[in-house]
Amino acid sequence: MALMETKTEARRSGARASALAFSLLRFLLTVVTTYLGLLVVTFFIGRVVPIDPALAIVGDRAPAHVVERVREELGLNLPLYQQFVIYIRQALTGDFGTSVLTTNPVMTDIRRVFPATIELATVGTLIGAFFGVPLGVLAAVKRGSFADQIVRIIGLIGYSVPIFWLGLLALVLFYAQLKWVAYPGRVDIVYEYSFTPVTGFFLLDAAMQRQWDVFWDVFRHIILPGALLGYFSLAYISRMTRSFMLNELSQEYIVAARAKGLSETRIIWFHALRNAAVPLITVIALSYAGLLEGSVLTETIFSWPGLGLYITNSLQNADMNAVLGGTIIIGSVFIAINILSDVLYRILDPRTRSR
């Protein structure tokens, strides 16, 4: 008996190992093709846009021979395929070259601006999850009711209204009219020279240094773009929460729990939501990745000095090294968060493990 059991175990673990190898391979393939796709698209966008990078470097008034010289220096006179090979080589070695605009190595720039984006996306996701999950639960519990309709409308607006429009509206209302929030940017100039960031996450830095006035100022800067991003992730999170909860509430164990006489609150928040929480983690993680990526417009509207604004500026200035670097970083983070949420999902939900 004991022997047999071990054999089955071994067989099972062997199958698990090959399944793991297979999924690892598939995953690697996905990563490689995603990267390649990214590279091809960024390269050709960079070459197709009718902006001359040489002109971007020398400015509007340069004499023709200077433009010509810079074009040669940039290798723009080489055949397209050679330029592409150089581009791929750069990307693979993680050396994205120097930014034309800032004159720093692109990686240095990214290290400087990326924390701002992460901070903003984190605040956005926290706000989105904080309001989105209860709203979704409410909509599921009160399915078909007035409250459900309201939640759906809130979500619908979040989905369909362009972010720049809502952002400008919010600025006019909360900044210009009500004066509740601070001018676009990350921190007031007053503090720009009295405050030395350590981690690059200003809220955290200010709190650690116990500079509460700075903390408050940063808060007043981040709250509006954060709330805006939060609203967009709320729309997604509440909808998904609603559908997960509906699924759970129709399960037999809920019926059983009700039969046992457990209170409705207990059933909803401790039984159903706990089970719905597993897929929700994936949803929240994906929406986090989405915010990192989708911060381009928000950052532009709110002059938020993060990666989104960096890429926008670089694109406008035909600074292709910077665009490539920024895009690859965002792509990598997106892929990484996907993997992470996948792994978490597997860990948290025993059913996915046994399959």
Partner: protein
């Protein structure tokens, strides 16, 4: 049921608490500090702060406030040039040698003394780097090979410049007021110079500190450059070693803001002290606010549209003339450029030597139709215009589209980013281009050269002036433009430019629209704020705050 209601209540109270927290925020806004000036300014054109390379409008303002030159324009009378680092100068009888005596006791921001050696080095590096503005110096015959000899220090306080022709002295001196002639600290620059491998294009083994000066600083002006972050901010700090009157402010911050509406909001809320890119509607709005003042100054920048002579229809003289009658100058003046420009139809901006104020053209559709009929185009035709998607050119293009339609000309507007439209314009691939031109230096030659000089109209032509870009070959005018440079008698020189302007007004493919007036809205807490006569004379050292 009751419980979930409680839950809902709790959720609502939390949101209410959040809202209250925000509402209770201290209303006292962090106004800009008393020793700091904050200007909202579109500074996205800055690509480098190296005075040997920079050639953009906002950069010119930054370098003007941070670097000194041998000579500068007299701010009260722009027809005069006064000494800045130079105490005095003499010009040899043959008109070829300029000898400058430096003031004594001058210091760079670094503390190093300013000597004629630094002046010579500044000229040498600008010429050898050969970046965008280098032509301003090389047009005097300076080359990488001869610059050490032609621009040299005779002794510690004497700098000698030798030019290749007996140019009008006012021309030479005016060119020396441009930012490329800024004096850099040789010692600091050499400390930061980077070794490079010489090539066919660039035969020197050093970058003359070009990379360092892109964001760094080696000057002697009233302010030092502390920081530039592209499309974000430029921060200047008081230079305590400045030889002139010390600035009253400790710090000046140019904050990048592109939109007029955003600048207006920030100005009204006290987040910035000065708004520099207000459009007519916003100018109107801020003038009505308490605590905000506005000021304006005419600039040397002209707006125009031009007809590419490669297009056969646009090359007909009658068609060129018809276009000049198909612009509603009055309407444009009263709406689109109200407060930010005045109608101007000649290529020399008001204020420069010889500038003509003639305005012979008015909207006259009947006359235009007559001219088109004469050209055999009575039924009109279709043509495109490349338009940068910024105001006021977009509005003007749309206005012109309507008036052209009245004469049967169908104008297709091709909107684009500045760099897109410019790339096309430089390659002579446009039909019509609408844009602006600012003088490179405060001398009529700057504009005369670009609008009337085209010695080689082939696609390979080396002088890619605006005349060339529009494939216009104004043979006699090219010769006259060159002659004007050697005319030492100012009155005679002015007469040549007047003639050139009349020719372009009558037959040139340029429809001049208006001359820019720069407007700024500013907090009335500021004292001594004013705009200068050119884009590189908006000086901030005179400003103080209540």
């Amino acid at each position: 049921m009751m419980n979930s209601l409680n839950r809902r209540m709790r959720l609502m109270t939390t949101s209410a608490a959040m809202a209250l927290l925000l509402a209770a925020a201290p209303q006292a806004f962090a106004a800009t500090p008393a020793d700091t000036l904050v200007e909202g300014f579109a500074i996205d054109d800055i690509i480098t702060l190296d005075p040997g390379e920079a050639f953009e409008l906002s950069t010119a303002e930054v370098t003007a406030n941070t670097y000194s030159k041998l000579v500068n324009l007299d701010m009260n009378d722009t027809s005069k040039v006064v000494g800045e680092l130079a105490d005095s100068w003499t010009i040899s009888d043959d008109g070829l040698t300029y000898t400058f005596k430096l003031k004594s006791g001058l210091k760079f921001a670094s503390g190093n003394p300013i000597t004629a050696e630094d002046v010579a080095f500044s000229f040498e590096r600008a010429v050898k780097l050969d970046k965008s503005p280098a032509f301003l110096l090389t047009q005097f015959g300076l080359t990488g090979d001869n610059v050490a000899e032609k621009a040299k220090a005779a002794d510690e306080s004497t700098f000698v410049l030798t030019v290749d022709k007996a140019y009008a002295p006012s021309f030479v001196l005016n060119v020396l007021t441009s930012t490329v002639a800024s004096i850099v600290d040789k010692k600091v620059v050499l400390e930061h110079a980077k070794a490079v491998t010489p090539s066919d294009e660039y035969k020197y083994d050093t970058d003359f500190g070009n990379e360092y000066l892109k964001t760094g600083f080696a000057g002697s002006g009233p302010f030092k450059i502390r920081e530039w972050r592209a499309n974000e901010v430029v921060v200047l700090e008081r230079n305590d070693n400045f030889f002139g009157e010390k600035p009253k402010l400790a710090r000046v911050i140019y904050r990048h803001m592109k939109e007029s509406a955003g600048q207006r909001l920030a100005l009204e809320n006290g987040d910035i002290d000065v708004a520099r890119n207000l459009e007519p509607g916003d100018v109107d709005a801020v003038t009505k606010k308490d605590g905000i003042a506005t000021t304006s100054a005419p600039k040397g920048t002209l707006y125009y549209f031009s007809l590419n002579q490669k297009n056969e229809k646009l090359a007909k003289p009658e068609v060129i003339e018809a276009f000049k009658y198909l612009v509603d100058y009055d309407a444009i003046g009263e709406t689109l450029i109200k407060g930010i420009g005045t109608i101007h139809q000649t290529f020399l901006p008001t204020g420069q030597l010889g500038a003509l104020e003639d305005k012979p053209y008015k909207l006259d559709v009947a006359k235009a139709k007559e001219l088109l009929a004469k050209a055999g185009l009575a039924d009109g035709f279709t043509v495109t215009m490349d338009v940068r998607n910024t105001q006021p050119v977009t509005g003007i293009a749309e206005n012109v589209q309507q008036t052209l339609a009245q004469a049967g000309i169908k104008l297709e507007i091709i909107p684009g980013d500045g760099k897109q439209t410019l790339t096309k314009y430089r390659a002579r691939q446009h039909d019509i281009y609408i844009g602006q031109w600012g003088s490179d230096y405060f001398d009529p030659n700057s504009n005369a050269e670009t609008f009337t000089f085209n010695p080689d109209n082939s696609d390979e032509g080396k002088n890619k002036t605006l005349a060339w870009r529009n494939a216009w070959d104004p043979k006699d005018l090219t010769v006259q433009t060159q002659a004007a440079l050697l005319e030492k008698d100012s009155a005679k020189r002015a007469a040549i430019y007047e003639g050139l302007q009349k020719e372009v007004l009558a037959s040139g493919p340029f429809v001049m629209l208006f001359q820019q007036i720069e407007v700024a809205g500013y907090s009335s807490k500021l004292k001594g704020f004013k705009l200068g006569p050119s884009f590189d004379t908006n000086l901030v050292y005179t400003i103080s705050k209540d």
